[in-house]
Each structure stands twice: as structure tokens, then as C-alpha cells.
């Protein structure tokens, strides 16, 4: 009960902080950091609800992000949409990414582990090259998105609040999936796919559904991002560093947890934004991120939150043992044998 109250309290506090952030920090640079960070909260959580829950590590989510981005940019231009009306394209941008995810998943999800990772990378480069060479995507010069004629002082705010709304929705979906039978099947697949299949889990439809759901959300985030920056250019829309950043965020916070990718995005994305804007050499931030990736994989492979929770659980167990043996003598060990 205490834990539940604590969680609700923390969520409320986070919601309040997110809600008042652009009102307190009125500098457009700050709200720009906020928009991009919230977009990464969405994407990292969406990636996690497929890769974190199923154990299939995708390095091709930029395909869905890019598909959503290009769909919104091209549709807004072709349909002559402006300002707030463009936001209504976001579900369609998600749908476009979800449709792309179906054939991709049907091929890639037939293999596992490193082979799956390699296939997602291969698909990513196919998508990137296609975007650079197709006329519908504007080739290497990309597509411009109509810029809304909003007050510069509060220009970022609609993007910010929409990103916050999408982030909240993504977290709700992630939470619901984790608590559902579908989420349980995904996590069983992560632990032992053959055994899960032998117990009646229809592995392929379960994995594909998760990938499509993840792609839908990622596509919407891509659409929002491209509207915010105003232009879809292949090397930025289909950026391999995007996938590495998203994976790092999930690993940093805690792969397969709900809060882990959020923590990862909240810590890492503003840091990257700050380093990129302050360092004279933009690549320094990427080198730093590479080093951080290595450190996380080596020393925190389960992420900050699971490692922290384990540390707390051990500390509590030690405390309980001390209480059980007030004389300071060795406390009796809890039964861990085979006695049932």
C-alpha cells in the first residue's frame, strides 16, 4: 500500500513538474529541450514495450520514426494543411509506421538475438537509402513542413504539451501491457521463447503485435518531431545515432521496466542537448555518449532502477536480519532449501 501511494505521489509530482515547466522556464531554449526530451520519453518507452518486454533488441526503430516524420511532412505539404490542423496527422503518421512494421516484423521476427539485431540494422539502411533517393521523400534535400505562424515567445508550448500528452499515453499503454496477459506472454518469450510456445503462447502474433504497437507510437513521435523542427532530411530523420540513443536510454534506466526508459530519457537527452549546444566540436557529445554506453553495459547492465531496487532490497534484508538478532550475533538465515 505504501509503495502504491509512493508511486502515485511520484507520478503526480512528475505531472506537476512537467505541466509547469514551460511556464517557469520561459526561455525558448529550455522549452525546446523539454519538447525533444519528451519526444525521447515517448520513443524510449515505445521501444521498451517491444524490445524491453520481448527481449528482441531492435536497432531499426528509426525506420518507424522516419516513416512517421516523412508521412507527416509529405501529407502536410500535399494536403496544404497549416498550424494546428497538422497535429491531426499524428495518428495517421503512427498508422503509416505501423503498416511498415508488419512486413518488417514478419521477416525479422523469424530470427532471434543477434541475427534479429542485424536484420533490423539492414532494414534501417534500406529505409535511409530509399529516403535519400525517392522523389516522394524529396531525395537528399528532404521535405519542408509548413511552419505555423505562432507567437515566438510561446511557439514551443503546443508541441511541448502535446508531447507530454503523448508521453503520458505511452506510459499508460506500457503499464497496461505489462499488467496484461499479452505483456506476460511477451516477457515469457523474453525468458524462453520455445518453452512459452510449448505452453500455448502464439509467439509470432504476440511479438508482431508488440512491434506494431511500438511502431505506431514511434511513428507519431517522429511526426511530432518533424513538425517541430520543420524539415525532414534523410540523414536526420533516419539517423543511426537515434537508435543508439534510444537503446542507451532504456538500458540506462532499466530495460523492461516502465520507469527505466523515462529516467534514461530525462537524464540523457537534456545532457546530450546541452553538450551539443555548448561543445565547440559536436562530436564530443557523441564520444561521451559512446563511453557512457560502454560504462552502462559493463557496470549497470540491468539499469539504474533495477540495480537500485536490488540494492535497497538487500539493505532491507540486512536490516531485518539485524532486527531479528538484537544481540548482534549472526541472524538465522531464511530457509532457502528445497523444503516445500
Amino acid at each position: 500500500m505504501n509503495r502504491r501511494l509512493l508511486t502515485v505521489g511520484a507520478l503526480l509530482a512528475l505531472a506537476v513538474v512537467v505541466a509547469v515547466f514551460p511556464l517557469v522556464f520561459t526561455n525558448p531554449i529550455a522549452s525546446q529541450y523539454g519538447v525533444i526530451t519528451l519526444i525521447f520519453v515517448i520513443v524510449a518507452s515505445a521501444w521498451n514495450l517491444f524490445s524491453g518486454y520481448s527481449g528482441y533488441l531492435s536497432l531499426g526503430h528509426a525506420i518507424f520514426y522516419g516513416t512517421g516524420a516523412y508521412f507527416l511532412a509529405v501529407a502536410a505539404k500535399d494536403w496544404n494543411l497549416t498550424a494546428g490542423a497538422i497535429f491531426w496527422l499524428l495518428p495517421l503518421a503512427g498508422l503509416a509506421a505501423a503498416i511498415i512494421a508488419v512486413p518488417l516484423g514478419l521477416v525479422a521476427l523469424r530470427v532471434r538475438r543477434h541475427t534479429f539485431v542485424v536484420i533490423t540494422i539492414a532494414f534501417f539502411f534500406i529505409a535511409q537509402l530509399s529516403a535519400s533517393n525517392l522523389s516522394v521523400t524529396g531525395g537528399s534535400s528532404g521535405v519542408l513542413v509548413p511552419v505555423p505562424n505562432w507567437d515566438p515567445a510561446t511557439y514551443n508550448n503546443p508541441f511541448y504539451y502535446l508531447a507530454a500528452l503523448l508521453a503520458a499515453g505511452t506510459l499508460a499503454v506500457s503499464w497496461l501491457i505489462r499488467r496484461s496477459r499479452f505483456g506476460l506472454q511477451l516477457r515469457a518469450i523474453r525468458d524462453d521463447e520455445d518453452r512459452a510456445a510449448g505452453l500455448g503462447v502464439r509467439a509470432m502474433p504476440v511479438k508482431l503485435t508488440a512491434l506494431v504497437a511500438s511502431a505506431f507510437i514511434t511513428g507519431m513521435a517522429g511526426g511530432l518531431w518533424v513538425y517541430f523542427i520543420g524539415q525532414a532530411i534523410p540523414q536526420f530523420v533516419f539517423d543511426p545515432l537515434f537508435d543508439l540513443a534510444v537503446v542507451l536510454m532504456a538500458f540506462f534506466g532499466g530495460l523492461g521496466t516502465i520507469a527505466g526508459p523515462v529516467l534514461g530519457a530525462l537524464v540523457l537527452e537534456p545532457t546530450q542537448q546541452y553538450l551539443t549546444s555548448t561543445e565547440t566540436n559536436g562530436y564530443q557529445s557523441q564520444i561521451l555518449f559512446g563511453v557512457l554506453f560502454l560504462l552502462v553495459i559493463l557496470f549497470l547492465p540491468r539499469g539504474v532502477l533495477p540495480t537500485g531496487a536490488e540494492y535497497l532490497a538487500r539493505a532491507r534484508a540486512r536490516l531485518a536480519q539485524r532486527r531479528a538478532a538484537p544481540g548482534g550475533g549472526p541472524a538465522s538465515q531464511p530457509a532457502t532449501g528445497d523444503a516445500a
Partner: protein, 241 residues
């Protein structure tokens, strides 16, 4: 609830090694059948073929009168054949209760699914660990968890691969008692086991495999006295005691 699982003339090889040749075995309805043999005699391969985890190169597998040869594990499980593995295959990062909720259940959902799972955990004696991560269980408790979640879908036939292997003696009795209870309720069991006391004390019939072939089949007392079994499996002649 009860059913007969039968392998007829099953053949399987791996590269140049003949793992099974013309192997016939019946786990009769409502009985406990033991399958013994030296390491590498093909017991687990036969289990894998009977449950769809491996394909036979020849021969057939029947569940009662239905041919299930080559059916995938999911289908075999849905037809009412559950199995455990020599090295337990639980879901270590799920809780014990979550492990129980993974298997598909006919006609149960939500609360009923959960209640049934808890009931089974109580039956096997690990209900107190329901909230613990399965990866933290002892080896014997993992064996019990695997048995528990195999029972979730009320299978008519249960195949146990070394249920007593690596388990401490007190828990072996507990596992044997649970198998007897389930068998009394009509379930058919086929058990691979190296612990001879366990097999001989529990099984109605015992089949002996050696180098991929059935060398003997019969009641435990008959198997104990069979000179071919003693020679091939136990490595002693009748007068060596």
C-alpha cells in the same frame, strides 16, 4: 482426463549417431510408466519427439487413436500432453505466480485462472513463494514449479524428465507423493529417471532403452530381474549382488 500416449517404430539420428531406432513405447492410460536407460540411450530424444520438440525420421506418435507425429509443441500441449525438462525451463524473470499464468487455459480467465494457479501451487507446496522471482527458487522448487505450470491446463498425459534429478531426498518423496495423487485422479505419466528407487517404487511398468532401442519392458519386479537389463543398464550380472 486419461489418455494413452504411444510411440511406434520411432527412428532418429544426429549426424552419424543413431539416437533412436525402431523404438516403440506405450504410456498406458491412467498408468505411471517409467523410461530408464544409460546416459545417451535416447530417452530425452524420445521425449522430445513425443512432445513435438524434435521431428522423427521414421515411425509415428499417437495420442489415443489420433496421430500426432510432427505436431508442434503448442499443438501437442493443447491436445493434453504436458512435459517437464531435464534441466528445468522456467521463466526466471517472472514471479512464480506469473509462471503459472503463462500456459494457455481452456475455459478459465482472470480470477479463475489465478485461483486455479494458486491452488496448484498449494498442491505442489510452493504457494508461499508465489510472489518471488522464479529465478530465486532452489533447484527442487524449480522442479515443482515446472510440474505445477504443466498441470495448469489439466493435461491428460504428463511426461516428466528426471523429476528427482538433483533434488534433495525429502523433496523427492514430496514429488513422488504428488505424482501418485495426480495419477489417482486419472492422469497418465511417463517418467524418465535415473533414481532407481524412485522409478521402481512409483511406476506400474518400466521400459528400458539402450543405444536407442527398447531392450525390455514390463513391471518393475520383472525389469529388476531381467538379465539383459542388468547387463546393459546396471552393468551387473544376476549373481553379482
Amino acid at each position: 482426463m486419461s489418455a494413452t500416449l504411444r510411440a511406434e517404430g520411432v527412428t532418429r539420428s544426429f549426424g552419424g549417431v543413431q539416437a533412436l531406432s525402431d523404438c516403440t513405447l506405450t504410456a498406458a492410460a491412467g498408468r505411471i510408466t517409467g523410461l530408464i536407460g544409460p546416459n545417451g540411450s535416447g530417452k530425452t530424444t524420445l521425449f522430445n519427439i513425443m512432445t513435438g520438440y524434435e521431428k522423427a525420421e521414421g515411425g509415428q506418435v499417437y495420442l489415443d487413436d489420433s496421430r500426432i507425429t510432427g505436431a508442434p509443441p503448442r499443438r501437442v500441449y493443447a491436445l493434453g500432453v504436458g512435459r517437464t525438462f531435464q534441466l528445468t525451463r522456467i521463466f526466471p524473470r517472472l514471479t512464480v505466480l506469473e509462471n503459472m499464468l503463462v500456459p494457455a487455459q481452456k475455459g478459465r480467465s482472470g480470477r479463475a485462472h489465478r485461483d486455479h494457479a494458486m491452488e496448484l501451487l498449494g498442491f505442489t507446496g510452493i504457494a508461499a513463494h508465489a510472489g518471488a522471482l522464479a529465478g530465486t527458487l532452489s533447484y527442487g522448487q524449480r522442479k515443482l514449479l515446472e510440474l505445477s505450470y504443466v498441470l495448469v491446463s489439466d493435461p491428460a498425459v504428463v511426461l516428466l524428465d528426471e523429476p528427482a534429478g538433483g533434488v534433495n531426498p525429502s523433496l523427492i518423496h514430496h514429488i513422488a507423493d504428488r505424482i501418485r495423487d495426480l495419477n489417482k485422479a486419472g492422469r497418465t505419466f511417463l517418467i524418465v529417471e535415473h533414481n532407481m528407487d524412485f522409478v521402481m517404487g512409483l511406476c506400474d511398468r518400466v521400459t528400458v532403452l539402450d543405444s536407442g532401442s527398447v531392450v525390455a519392458s514390463g513391471p518393475p519386479d520383472e525389469i529388476r530381474a531381467n538379465p539383459r537389463v542388468l547387463d546393459a543398464y546396471l552393468g551387473t550380472g544376476p549373481g553379482d549382488d
